[in-house]
């Protein structure tokens, strides 16, 4: 079963300020980028479910200049708050990385 990470040359997460998490997926090729962007894979609803946030709080922004998709969502809590697990937000890309993309192989 292929995962989204296998199509990426960069797949990273980081704080965009203390309250927001932003995830960059830079694809290996223009073709992979086009197939993913045109598929229903990276919808706000699907990402919201992975990250336990409201779909209305998830932005999915295609960035064709570098065949990338940027995903922006609220952090579970502000950076460094009591109980936070990842002050920089640098390991929160993994649920998106592990997203299964089996429907793509047919595309």
């Amino acid at each position: 079963m292929a995962i989204l990470g296998s199509y990426a040359q960069t797949l990273r997460s980081k704080n965009a300020g203390a309250f927001v998490l932003t995830i960059d997926v830079i694809f290996r090729s223009e073709a992979d980028y086009q197939r993913i962007v045109q598929s229903p894979l990276l919808t706000a609803e699907r990402i919201a479910a992975l990250y336990s946030v409201a779909p209305g709080d998830v932005q999915v922004i295609p960035y064709p200049q570098v065949h990338a998709v940027k995903v922006t969502l609220p952090r579970a809590m502000p950076s460094g708050d009591i109980g936070d697990t990842d002050v920089y937000g640098a390991q929160q890309h993994v649920p998106l990385m592990l997203l299964e993309v089996d429907e793509l192989s047919a595309g």
Binding site: N15, F19, I61, S79, D81, I82
Partner: protein, 459 residues
């Protein structure tokens, strides 16, 4: 109305203290530069450093970087601009960086005019703006209230280009700024000299992280940005490194909620029409960026509040029977400690005990989907309480509970944990949270950024 054809800026490093190579700096100096700048801060390392007034890099590394940059700037007689001094950019951060600069000047026998710009607005002004409805949350931060403003340990405001421009116009050789827009460090001089604001701000955003746009990625290093009337060029200062259109374009999206818009106090940089082209194997040309001026001049406020005192304990779990019952074990620790705290006069509502289970779910928490049973778990007990003594007391009870709690099928009745060293419990210090993350309107871009001029006489 630009009076010169081009302006060449050096972004020395993504953060003072993270370093750069002397080869890169020397190469850039030999080429000739109009401005040297570097950011020194970030909110990324968390609320502690802003609250505590401490840097997140070492003083030795800060001194090394600043010494090389001051020497270079004085040799070329060009401005050196340092932003977000000391990490958080608050008054103590600026003061400790100023002391390092003055020490370097004395040791290097250098004399220059230093501008020190503080960035902690008076609380009564923030309250006044809040009452006037001129403070808004940056999504998804909550609406601000007066008690939060009054009780915050520290609140800094992120300055734009205007205070830097004023300092340089007043003859500053070295500008030491508190919390500051990273891009403004590079946009300030070009804007003052009449260059296009879209290109000036986009150039600033592109080089503010220094070596982040340089390949190969072998740590921080210097980047040269050359701004002309209708485009800018980016190249690594180090002769063996390169920038590509992809590395440059990808940076506009880095640590930014949008790849197309970068917010600044006076407006936003719109990169939708930006074009990135390779001039050769290591230089990139960018044009088409547009600046959209905002109706109102706003600065970002970053503030932290004290939430208690932290103490932590870390140990390893290897027993497979315990690992099979880790959830019940965790719940039992939390439950037992509550009872023990009450018996010692500590209200369970006054502390938090976070049980972090590395190897299981400590990184993703409830978002973890892996279901494999690990062979080993790193257990961290993280207590934040109202006083240092409460934190130590609760943690000691939590350690004892974790070491000796029963679980189903337990064979290891002498102890549940491998404790790696003694003392096992560490007092971490104060714990803070980000409580202010808002924009505030200013009547004037200089309103809350006082400049002090110091004639540093090292010679």
């Amino acid at each position: 109305m630009a009076t010169q054809e081009q302006i060449r800026l050096l972004a020395a490093t993504g953060c003072i203290g993270y370093g750069f190579t002397e080869t890169a700096l020397d190469t850039a100096v030999a080429r000739g530069l109009d401005v040297i700048a570097a950011d020194a801060g970030s909110s990324d390392p968390g609320p502690y450093y802003l609250g505590e007034g401490k840097p997140f890099v070492s003083l030795r590394a800060t001194e090394r970087d600043l010494r090389l940059l001051i020497r270079a700037a004085r040799k070329l007689n060009v401005p050196l601009i340092i932003g977000s001094a000391g990490g958080g950019g608050g008054v103590p951060h600026v003061a400790l960086t100023r002391a390092i600069i003055e020490k370097i000047a004395a040791e290097e026998k250098l004399s220059f005019r230093l501008a020190v710009i503080n960035a902690e607005p008076p609380r009564d002004l923030i309250v006044e703006r809040l009452r006037a409805g001129r403070i808004a949350p940056l999504w998804p931060a909550p609406v601000l209230d007066e008690a939060t403003v009054t009780d915050a340990t520290r609140i800094v405001a992120m300055m734009g280009a205007a205070p830097l421009q004023k300092a340089i116009a007043d003859g500053a050789d070295v500008v030491l700024a508190g919390r500051c827009s990273d891009s403004a460090l590079y946009a300030a001089v070009p804007l003052a000299r009449g260059f296009d604001p879209g290109l000036a701000w986009h150039l600033g955003k592109t080089i503010e992280c220094g070596g982040a746009i340089v390949r190969p990625k072998t740590g921080q290093d210097c980047v040269i940005g050359t701004l002309r009337q209708d485009h800018f060029e980016i190249e690594p200062a180090h002769p063996d490194k390169r920038c590509t259109p992809e590395s440059v374009a990808a940076h506009t999206m880095y640590e930014n909620p949008s790849p197309y818009e970068v917010l600044e106090p006076s407006g936003l940089v719109d990169t939708r029409a930006s074009q990135y082209e390779a001039l050769d194997a290591r230089r990139v040309r960018v044009h088409g960026s547009v600046f959209r001026h905002a109706d109102r001049y706003t600065v970002k406020l970053e503030g932290v509040s004290l939430c208690g005192y932290r103490a932590v304990f870390t140990a390893g779990i290897r027993d497979p029977i315990l690992i099979r019952h880790i959830d019940a074990f965790t719940a039992q620790i939390i439950d037992r400690v509550q009872g023990e705290a009450v018996s010692l006069g500590i209200d369970p509502a006054s502390y938090t005990l976070t049980v972090r289970r590395y190897g299981l779910d400590a990184v993703l928490g409830p978002r973890e989907t892996a279901t494999d049973t690990p062979h080993e778990i790193g257990l961290m007990l993280d207590v934040v309480a109202a006083t240092p003594d409460d934190a130590a007391t609760v943690l000691a009870k939590a350690r004892y509970a974790a070491m000796h709690t029963e679980f189903e099928g337990r064979l290891c009745t002498a102890g549940n944990l491998a404790v790696p060293f003694a003392p096992s419990d560490a007092a971490v210090g104060r714990a803070y949270r980000f409580s202010v993350w808002h924009t505030m309107e200013l009547d004037d871009p200089m309103e809350i950024f006082p400049i002090e001029y110091v004639d540093v006489a090292g010679a």
